[in-house]
Symmetry: D2
Subunit: 356 residues, 4 copies
């Protein structure tokens, strides 16, 4: 074997400790080690490349990230426009709303006595607690809000835009929903029926007929139209779940009506699930290429890590080293209508944007 | 320490091999060993207790179980009425439909070249392939079907009931959707927008305005009304995901309008995700007790195993040893209308079933 | 894409439930489904091919399989000569000895109060308990035994052979150690110092100088000499750990002194660890090929499952369908000496078996 | 429920991003979020408490940490005396020696063609490569070294001390073995027979009779004597494996001869394995309390994360915020003899240190 084997181009460099290492310096050193440390560094580089390129950036959020203490970072990503569109589970938006409304989550213990918690009406998310009466109050608040809306169908995107606006005007507090409202970033929630936001909407309907009509099929169309319009897209996924697939589906659906899109140009995911049980949450970005969800020449990185460790590092490092996005890369949305507009051009209503 | 420590009541028994052991015999021996073998045996016992008791049984399905070869077992559970109501991801129903329509999945290789698959328009689910042109044809078939429906809102439950009927009349083939139609078992799909069924519906709307209105908030109400009406319920979850939470949410929502329900009386889950990252898929049944999703005195079992190993064993053993369900435990549904009826009594339309 | 794509040769077949399915029938049906069910079926086929071919079969055992209720199956594999040589962690042999001596493990609860167990001197292995005073008694028994041996160095293989003999003569009970003694199957324990057997030996030395000399480097030589002599080998690994690597190392070391061996001809592993953190326990059999641990054209299968589920199925199915091994495939060992002999030919003492 | 529920004492605080956050600042913010981020912060606090208290600190190392780029950090922990004794797998020491001798590991690809690697004699550890001829050269170097030693039995501790000295004198390079030599920190390798160091020793014996006698039972005695002498101990475990158990076993064995030790006073582990399959690598620190391995009132933290992410953060933060250790907490070893001495007092030879 020659020294010059093409397999042996770049030696690893053992991580050297120094006092005062910043997040970006830690990630720079991780780029030359192995395993998930290296993958985390790659994820950082992929994110930076997304920002430097003229691509539209989707962020998918699943798992209990808001209850887990990451909602301010997610709001920060939105405010900084390091992402252009969010796809989230309902729970992450609900727990965000909970804190934006001034309620709290509490440090808890995964080994606690759950019957005792139940007796005190405390709900547990692994090592985190919340008061059930505050959740009931949130549900009621959502129902109240829903009852103020004209009883017609809303995409989850439109509904959440309005919810964010209402929340901002009521609280003036920063959070995912309010940051998205202020930054004009659309949020989709394809599985809204599987969440306490959905429960709140259902309670609105219980009070008043016609409330809580959510047009989730409209969300499919609108999200794919984003891809049809922008064509060059990127996907950042935290935690898998419905958000991961919805972002990929948007690309596949867009390609169906506007061939040649060819999948996301960049893809990074921070997951804890694994590929070998066949579920979508753990599926590899390589597998996504077979479907055309991710371009076969995409820059991509999968990090097998809890987002509560990976995301603070990535975000803190971006704060130091995020490149300026190219002119026009981060579009301006008008989210106030039934159908949104991007950079002043509305999307079609109930139709895919196709040349006729 | 006395021999009589209360901790040391029952010794384990090492598993003894014999030729010709049947599934139920294997599970009986696993009951006395440890770790996930014992948990699998416990799951079997919990399922049998559900069947022997007067409870309403939810089945939640997530992960690629249909593409993974378990759709006939799932259909069998429905036909045998070992479950009363199914909550599924869209993908499991879509891949079921794919095979019911005579298309196939193929034995594949997780290490294959995905760019080559992409070039041949073959989609990969870990170690399983499918032809993309057949998926496109399915989408079209769904869009066609959707366009035959009156353009109004349908809960996913109503839509899937009609889809199952249509599929049965067209194919006469057994599968999840067709078995549910024939057995009168409702199927909910709260995240239908995150699936190819949703994509097919969106294509129907692209063709014809007003098509593909899915009332997922109506699903929340109808599923909770099931629990309000029956009160004593059980939960079987395969793979976590939205289905797991939706079944739990039905119980919590029902308790809100009809206090005293107190969570599922039995709960079993077969999962591969873990609790310590905080996500709902891996969350423990103990944690579910803090929320009132599962009764604090419920019989429960969590099996950490791939469903492709666990479910065949459980189902084959049930085939030998499932107890007769009590008279009336398995209700008779009429699923033909906008709102379903159970044992001849319709559920309220757009409202929770509460005493006035 | 033509129907005739080479990727689409074999459709999956959904698993069909029937009453009374035996383990081998279950595995036969799993061969046509996906994910870990299919892998389990592949593992069964790989094991059967090993048995039908003229190969020497190593079995590696790690994880708490004996405490977990699998020791009778492991003994059965040895007695049936479905394996020719065992490499084990000390704990599995110790817990085997514990039960062979008539002590028990007990059904326990992973959520129990460990301080209460500690107060009662009960040791917990996840969901399984044992009495600490019985462990102390075992340690003492091992020390007693060690003190009966001439104070010289013993490979773990020689020591465990003697221990098995002693245990058989004292108890007449079946177990891993006693079955191996009776079947003349060697057991290696490379990490014996990391176990209660090691602790017992150390207590022997505390009593009497020179006791408990274990020549683990001799084990390396003897195990590699097995491969040098037989050349065509197979590896079955349950649970990873030191056993997995020791078996692979034997092949690599053998090839160094006797080039052309080229790695195990068959390899199957049942593991729960994953490759992406870089550890040996979760490493793939594909990676093992780069090292020459496994032949590049080997039949191989990795099952991601708990052995307490997978092994009972595999063993019960083998009981029905194990092929007769070829004449001479299962060698006859004489394990009574410092250096063992195989089929009447002793191995070299402290040297690799090389042509001079 | 009152605001004053004892369960709701401390609210979480969402992580706030800022530019230039240092490792210690990141961990301080993680202390108030949830899931593994919080656990990582707890691990940091536990380590700091260890350093501030008069305890003897064991470090256990398993998994491919050296090949993975963490050997300089491990050396740093030793040099700084943030640990007092190391227990390692052989592989971590071997890959350390490889780099200390000037050889390299290379950035690789987990999806590569392993047959091609095998053809080029390149060995793969997940995403990292090494040249096999350099490994052969290392083995030879180890055999050469072994042949310079007087042919008698050496504990792994003594052997590795001598190996570290030899390596330092030959290379003058920093690494785990050389740092330990220079800092006088003992390294135990209970599973040395399961590693390339063991293979090298066996090759020494092949050349010259009597070489490579490793007294691993002596290691048990010496490690337990450390605990008997110091009584108050702490355990840091990276990656589980034999190292984790060996450190715990030392405490249990010590307590047997010197009752009242009662387990490690502090325990932290960074692991990726899980408890529910029953193996020692994934076992909880709570379970360890039942055995008396960890004190029932110990400060403890388990982090479910890859060490390549967790350790750089912990070490960089310690560099800023490690407390001075109490006078005498970090003992002075003389490792030059067959039996070591601590703070000038030799340990007994082949016996446990017990009052007579």
């Amino acid at each position: 074997m020659a020294e010059t084997s093409p397999f042996l181009r770049l030696p690893t460099e053992a991580f050297k400790v120094e006092a005062g290492l910043r997040a970006d310096e830690i990630l720079a050193r991780m780029a030359r080690i192995s395993f998930q440390g290296r993958n985390l560094a790659s994820a950082f580089q992929v994110w930076r490349k997304m920002l430097a390129d003229d691509v539209f950036i989707f962020l998918g959020v699943a798992g209990a990230l808001s209850a887990g203490g990451l909602r301010s970072i997610l709001a920060h990503l939105i405010t900084r426009r390091w992402v252009d569109c969010v796809v989230s589970t309902g729970a992450n938006l609900y727990h965000d709303l909970h804190e934006t409304r001034g309620r709290r989550h509490y440090i808890g213990d995964p080994q606690t006595d759950d019957a005792a918690l139940q007796a005190e009406h405390i709900d547990r998310v692994y090592d985190t607690y919340a008061r059930e009466d505050e959740f009931v109050d949130n549900d009621n608040w959502i129902a109240d809000f829903a009852c103020t809306l004209e009883p017609r169908a809303y995409t989850s995107r439109e509904l959440l835009g309005r919810l964010g606006a209402h929340l901002w005007h009521e609280t003036g507090e920063d959070g995912i929903l309010t940051a998205a409202y202020r930054a004009g970033v659309p949020i989709f929630c394809p599985a809204i029926a599987d969440s306490s936001i959905g429960m709140g909407l259902s309670q609105g309907r219980h009070r008043r007929s016609g409330i809580g009509q959510i047009d989730v099929i409209g969300d499919i169309i609108e999200s794919a139209n984003l891809v049809i319009r922008r064509r060059r897209t990127a996907s950042i996924v935290l935690g898998g779940g419905t958000s991961k697939n919805f972002i990929n589906q948007a690309s596949v659906q867009a390609d169906f009506y506007s061939p040649g899109i060819g999948g996301h140009r960049y893809a990074l995911q921070v997951i804890t699930d694994v590929p070998h049980f066949g579920g979508a949450s753990g599926s590899s970005l390589r597998e996504a290429q077979s479907w055309g969800k991710v371009a076969t020449d995409a820059d991509r990185a999968t990090v097998q890590a809890d987002a509560t460790i990976a995301l603070p590092l990535l975000a803190a490092a971006l704060e130091s080293l995020a490149p300026e996005r190219p002119q026009g890369a981060a579009p301006k949305f008008d989210l106030s209508g039934r159908v949104m507009s991007m950079d002043g051009v509305p999307f079609p209503d109930g139709r895919y944007e196709v040349a006729r």
